[in-house]
Amino acid sequence: MLADDAELFRTALADLLERDGCVIVGQAADADGLLDAVERHRPDLAVVDIRMPPGHHLEGLRAAVRLRRLHPGTGVLLLSQHLEVTHLDELVGQSARGVGYLLKDRVTGPDFLSAIRRVASDGCAFDPEVVPLLAGQRGRRDELAALSAREREVLALMAQGRSNGAIAAELQLTTRTVETHVRNVFLRLSLPDEAEHNRRVLAVLAYLRSAPRATTSASASADSVDLGRKPAADDWSTASP
């Protein structure tokens, strides 16, 4: 499901995804069209532009938040021309499942298609630039101060949705070293001893949520999933190359 008011971009994006084996069940040019189409088709994923008619303001973000509340089974990937932590807070709420927030120009990048698949299969994909933004905020810095620089790097890549193997490749480390770093992150953030996948998500959430909350961001949390008790049910680590 694609939602963007620029038709040329929508068509080109549909072309790209179809060639990769995705099925485009519908396209919408505004927020209402998006909600209607998702209601009808129940797709695995909705790719949503943050600015849409009529106001070209934050209609896409508001629609994405509603979608996540109404249809938890549909992943939402929000595209924007610029990244803002405040929008990220609002979009993610209490659950980092099936959600992504990327700069729009990432669509031409090598990782875009894997990000699409991760979000569609209940994973997450946050733009690499989100991480330094989060780190630059007061509160987050304090909370993450316990981590070493390398551990923070690893956590940042986890937040992008990378698997241990992908992180190892990115940082040119062995997978075993990365696994050690990941364990240390869990330890230092005092995460409960649970299934690895859940702990990864919790670590990312801790990362995302450690900032002072914007007052508007609480609205998205109404029917969030309690990640702590949900069994690990998907192929998180296999989603990435």
Binding site: T86, L103, D105, G136, P212
Partner: protein
Amino acid sequence: MVGAVFGAAALWVSDGGRDPDTTTTFFSGVVGGLYLLTGSIAHLRRPGRLGLLMVMVGIAWFAEDLQVSNNPVPHTIGLFYRSVASASLVHLLLAFPDGRLHGRSERAVTGAVYATVLLLVPLGVPFYNSITPNLVLVADLTRLQENLINGTQIGFAVAVGVLLVRRWFVATPPARRVLAPVYGVGITGVAASLSQPGLPGESAELVKEIAHLATLGLPMAFLAGALRIRLGRTVVGGLLLRLPRADPTELRDLLAHALGDPTLRIAYPHPDDTDDTDNPDASELYVDAAGRPVIPRPQDAVTPVLRGPRVVAVLLHDPALRADRHVLEATIAAAALELDNQRLAAEVRAQLAEARASRARIVTAADEQRRRIERDLHDGAQQQLVTTALILRLARDRLGPDPSDPELGVLLRRAADGLEASVTELRELARGIHPAVLTEAGLMPALRALAARSAYPVDVIDGPALPPLPDQVAATAYFVAAEAVTNATKHAHATRVHVGVRVSANRLVVTVADDGVGGADLAGGTGLLGLRDRVAAIEGRLVVRSSPGDGTSVHANLPLEMP
């Protein structure tokens, strides 16, 4: 002088025929002489028609005396002029105090009196018989004439009386002040003359003396009236001493007091049409010291205050003040400098208000333009570049991993890289012009984003939630913080910057404090200067505290509601 010589001659000629019971040569001489003297004084002190009219009454008074002469020649000549003094006196009464007749009724009555005295009375001379031989006597119709003349006199007396009473009632306080001596003496005299016949012997003598004294007093009263206007000049002296300390309202009070006109107002020519000296009385628009329009009331006289060729102000006042143009002019001359200053102040205030409003409009328009450019960049150029990059990727994908022309693949990749760099640059450009998050999410998220992107640690201190802010206030607060943070990291070598925002007493207070080297100067850096202008445009205040080695703090205090 001529009048005095003529008077002396007339007295000498007519001396022999005096009836001691009515008028004496001495008394007549004193009355006529007083008119000549007071008229001369009035004229010397205040050149104008009034003094001349008083002198004319004196001359006419002596001319009337000729008829009393025993010598038939002057007696006959005197008969022709035997009532001219009454006519002159009527003229003087009606023209008092400014020497001019006002209105048709005054001119008609005066004209009729002159016509009667100078045409009808001389026509009757050949038919008038008196004790001293009338040289031109043709027939004796004396009784008829006396009755006619008495009747006419009563008619005129009533007409003049009505005019004078009417004038008193329409007169304004300053005008009454001038009229009072003449009216007082006149009423006393008339009352004495009218009541005399009905009184017993001794009282009648006393009342007759009073009537005589009143006749004597009348020229003195005219002079007193004239001098009452002159008294204003001493007030002008006092005015001069107090002017340098006068504020706008006080100046009006001082002028009103000096001129004896509580209704006096000061107005200034509208700044848009100055230099119109030709027609200061036209219904052009005046403004007061605060720049508000002033509309002259119908009864207002408008006197321009000139400095050189320019009308610096106008006085809206009682027309009676024009009775003594000299006092008016003296007062105006004394006040002209002060009025000119105040006119300039009024103009400057009006211009300042306009400049302030236009500065606020410019900032608002500039903000609006920045927002639009930012939006156009995002939704226009950036969107199209991203779409083009996407299409380029599709083209590259279609080319496959082993293109027939490997060069083509390299070229397409370079083009894609170039596009990506452009999009990134455009994004930073748009953020610098106007951060979208400021419009989308408000001041605090925008400041947090600013802090997150800063190369140095920037703490945004969270206070109580802010109320909704007007766009200009939020934008100004943001740009103040952004500039101060940039200065702190770039020039002050600060290691830590605190940004605080709070609302206090309907004002937004933004504080940016760093621990850098200090020594920032509001006048030195154009950045800070630009901030001050921006803050001033929405009537806010910017304070920069910065001493070397002690860090820098920038405080912006912005009103939440525009005045």
